[in-house]
Symmetry: D2
Subunit: 383 residues, 4 copies
Amino acid sequence: MTRRIRLGMVGGGQGAFIGAVHRIAARLDDQYELVAGALSSDTARADASAAALHIEPGRRYAGFEEMAEREATRPDGIDVVAIVTPNHLHFAPAQTFLARGIHVICDKPVTHRLEDALTLASAVERSRLIFALTHNYTGYPLVRQARDMVASGALGTIRVVQVEYPQDWLTNRLEETGQKQAAWRTDPARSGDAGCIGDIGTHAFHLAEFVTGLRCESVAAELTRFVKGRALDDNAQMLLRFSSGARGMLWSSQVAPGNENALRLRVYGEKAGLDWSQEQPNALLFTPLGEPPQLIRRAGSGANAVAAHASRIPAGHPEGYLEAFAQIYRDVAEQIHARLETREPDPASLLVPGIADGVRGMHFIAAAVASSQANAAWTAIET
Amino acid sequence: MTRRIRLGMVGGGQGAFIGAVHRIAARLDDQYELVAGALSSDTARADASAAALHIEPGRRYAGFEEMAEREATRPDGIDVVAIVTPNHLHFAPAQTFLARGIHVICDKPVTHRLEDALTLASAVERSRLIFALTHNYTGYPLVRQARDMVASGALGTIRVVQVEYPQDWLTNRLEETGQKQAAWRTDPARSGDAGCIGDIGTHAFHLAEFVTGLRCESVAAELTRFVKGRALDDNAQMLLRFSSGARGMLWSSQVAPGNENALRLRVYGEKAGLDWSQEQPNALLFTPLGEPPQLIRRAGSGANAVAAHASRIPAGHPEGYLEAFAQIYRDVAEQIHARLETREPDPASLLVPGIADGVRGMHFIAAAVASSQANAAWTAIET
Amino acid sequence: MTRRIRLGMVGGGQGAFIGAVHRIAARLDDQYELVAGALSSDTARADASAAALHIEPGRRYAGFEEMAEREATRPDGIDVVAIVTPNHLHFAPAQTFLARGIHVICDKPVTHRLEDALTLASAVERSRLIFALTHNYTGYPLVRQARDMVASGALGTIRVVQVEYPQDWLTNRLEETGQKQAAWRTDPARSGDAGCIGDIGTHAFHLAEFVTGLRCESVAAELTRFVKGRALDDNAQMLLRFSSGARGMLWSSQVAPGNENALRLRVYGEKAGLDWSQEQPNALLFTPLGEPPQLIRRAGSGANAVAAHASRIPAGHPEGYLEAFAQIYRDVAEQIHARLETREPDPASLLVPGIADGVRGMHFIAAAVASSQANAAWTAIET
Amino acid sequence: MTRRIRLGMVGGGQGAFIGAVHRIAARLDDQYELVAGALSSDTARADASAAALHIEPGRRYAGFEEMAEREATRPDGIDVVAIVTPNHLHFAPAQTFLARGIHVICDKPVTHRLEDALTLASAVERSRLIFALTHNYTGYPLVRQARDMVASGALGTIRVVQVEYPQDWLTNRLEETGQKQAAWRTDPARSGDAGCIGDIGTHAFHLAEFVTGLRCESVAAELTRFVKGRALDDNAQMLLRFSSGARGMLWSSQVAPGNENALRLRVYGEKAGLDWSQEQPNALLFTPLGEPPQLIRRAGSGANAVAAHASRIPAGHPEGYLEAFAQIYRDVAEQIHARLETREPDPASLLVPGIADGVRGMHFIAAAVASSQANAAWTAIET
């Protein structure tokens, strides 16, 4: 049997949210073992966190540079590193591990500055290594099925794309209370020029392009800071023009009371529509023109092979966010195994977002910010 | 007991859709009797239609001018006329009946040209008569409650307004098949410069302002014609700026497969949100920040006096579109009765949209069309 | 053009609920005029109520006997009478009007004693008149479509029938507060042996048989009085055996907090299932085995001619309870017109429930009460 | 840091469904390592399965007896064994491991014969070991919150309990096709006297008692075999009497097209109701009488500490079936750690169902089967 992939982690010490999610995701399908970590810039915390995760003492690192260096030279060194630090701390470790020949799984957005993302893209290309970006919503089975249905022509030529991602957790000035998640996300030094648009707007944008296969060529964006004293946008609304002629809208917000993670994508073509919501991810509404709407359910009737690839359990037993996140890890594992075994990976595993998606996301942020500064003038998204 | 209001109708002959709706609306609460009509420009059809509606022979008119003249001089002449012709045929009869001292209930949009709307507004003002515009969605009990909740401060200062009205009935080029509803709605000569944006975008816009009490000061709009050969927009997407600083989006579409009349309004304030959908009009989701969302149901717990004014039957027995439409008629009846009885009308009856809403809708259309022609540049809505 | 049907009403004076519903239902499609009434046993109230309804003085009757006698002899006498009194006051007027040759529309349950129902059945048969029972839920377009789909074999042989009708309005002892609706419904002298089971259980039972076309041959019933001091059941649960071999359950309750009028029917056959809820009456879920569930919408794709017969407005504009109720009246009007014109009625109009349904409902109540008294022993429903 | 719990598994070789679920559940929170297994009665398959799971060669056992014996004597022997064989193969391994002093996590129903369950109960009691039964639905956060709300009196005295669990996968005679899951579930030799009622009816029954804290004292049950040639019931309907005076209904079915795992529980008390559905497990509808229904969401506003104990990720990111299943494992881990550390376990971990629940389930099955054989006569559930 194939061995487990050896995983290291940068960031994700005690108290962090997304690091724990990455670890569950890695564990879920039993294809990884977490063997090394530079989990915190606070040495004591890094050590305690690693111990709690059963990482052996010799592989509990104080910094990612040391970790990269040492792991690269061990015969049982890590195959891949997960980078789960705040946005502004993605770039340096990513470069470092790539330089050491270690694959990278990186949280999104890929960096907090566009130029870093471009630099990193070159590094990835030179390295020929795997660079996976956890646009985790693409791991949902029915998101992948939606993409497949669009690609297969089930909707006809796409005309309209409506995507939104409202939340409410920053309705008040939470960052002032010392809440860590809020603090770094609203701090330009750590999140770049984008608040809401970078944190969740990029998810919405990525999902829209992922499912439709279209390229959004320009945006007319209005970014707003509703909460007094906040430095970055907490609400973003924009018009989208796709190169195919399709038209769309994107709304992301962190100040919409009652919304938790209400990511929703609707796609309308000449022949049919699709409607998917992240909070009800086991259902996909398919609306062929002139027929009753159909409720496609994960692993149920109407679910196809693409969805089955990303499913674990039978229909009617809901899967959720962690399973979708785990799918990214499972697909990366397949890609790594394929390299270890010098074979082609399962093509279904290649849907994992990568550095190109990361760069694209940065271009999207840049365009949205620029458009907003130019009074919502149409602004091209560079490619 | 008060007598029934005497109602005349212009347009709405056999085969018309909205005329029949107006008649049901007038009948539902038993406060009107339809006694006169100029129901069609085709004399034979006008006569047959009137006969079928039990209008006595002497009051089956071939034209609205004759009807206005004769009814104005009868001692039992009509109190009010309902104008239910296609958009380009609202203006002339409205002016005529006002000139004869007869109240008017007019289908929306008020006219197909802005200048006509302005002319009509002057005429209404001079006449001191009642001019009601059937923005019928404002007749839904929970729409009125939503408005009341916003006004009472239950949401705090409003920040975000998301409104949409997608349909799918013009996904194909239905107007080529001879379907009458499609034909005039897609014909610039009869619908003015606006297709989708005039037909349903105005409803969405009106609903947003009606509920929030805010003024939208400018739009950045993208109107699109997706169906080849169509002369008017069949999809409209735009950003909204409100004078208060609130921000919004509006989407209306006639090419979104699976959508019937999916008008939906979401309003988010500093303290709470509201979510209402026309296809499930008996429920209003209220989302106070930091509390579980509450499902307010028509006539149920949480429904208030404003909603009760517009309800007929107990909770759990759904009311629908016709009841909401009837509310407009019921409130107009109250206004007319108050005048007949020289008393103040019930204040709750004064929510009926009027000529100012009609002019506002025309300004909105003009701004949206102009913005779209200017590459979605921000364009002020005149006031 | 055909004249309007002349309608009289017994009961339904000011303050009554169901009388007002009947009047709206009669008005909605403009095929009736209310011309006579014995609206209350209180003469002053009867008179005031009639005046408010524009009934002319000479036809405002103090009692139904006088009304029947006089109307039967007028050349313009009523064609049909609507009986909307409490349950125990249906029998006498029904007999009286039938004896005078006047058609009857009667609220349900048909009587409060089984023997009265049987007597009335004979009277109806002898009279050859129309006797319509307002099991109004059968007027919903998608209920009729559901029936048609079962009959056409779309579900295959039916196996399981689940029907329920929970409410919450009698969770507390409302009848003690003087609330009239609660008072008579919980009073054995006016409601017979059955509380909840008679008031709403009969609706559920009727709906199940109406849609499936099956005969329920026996019940094992548990009727419960949860509220202390109440004389009649406020919760009913039972197992159902159908003569075809199908099996079912029925639950009705007036003490289930959060439920308004949550009538719901689910039918499962060898090939497919159906699911319909009264509070969302514009949708019917159709679940063919091995295919995605389909959402059939009133007047939308998938709605058939049977549903269209009972619809008024296009898809996406919700119809509700009043429209369904009106359908009973519309179908009765068609039946009366057919007799007046000596022609066959539209077959679609013949779905209106009649005296047989009324007798059946009384047998159902009797069986349920007897079963419950016999410790839920299986008890046959007589036929 | 505390070490990982050492887990062995009996059953769950390649191709099995529930074994894989148990393993994911054990892995999810990183508190177990799977170190030993007797995964199949087919030696080659057992070995291959164990290898695929990274179990070291010396701990890949051919039979559970050998495994129990060897593991009991190893210094690093397993702490706990998961028994995931078909129902008729739970009893023997459970007894064997208990006899060796090894804790047991057992799939439900606990055995396929009541007498075995009783024997096992004695063995558990004597052993003083942990015996956990995977009534996994009790692991859902909002199920636990529902239980807590009832216990805290938020609903007042409970009156009505409606529980159902419909599926459709056995609508046709799937067992004839060689499908393994269907084959053993419909085979009396492997599933005992109960088909649907044992497989999923027990889940529904357990959930009802778990949430309400009430004891069901008797049932009047109708078990039906709809599919020709099937030996066990595929549909079960019954009335429930609780010792408190509450009344209920239970429906479970495997022949209801369109239903996947539609487990739903509704509880109504004097003050409020609760409504929870397994397919939408992140929401709990709370319906206080006289107030708008509230939508309590997992980890959102309204979710309490009991729910938080069973949650992993923030609100709005759905958790599902695997997370609920993992909660059982996480709570067992806490119990084992507490013993290892000679301390009291977190009280919240003690909600895990145990042998008493297993015996109760067997009594429930016996009563339901006996009642059905006695024409649905009320039959006591022994205690």
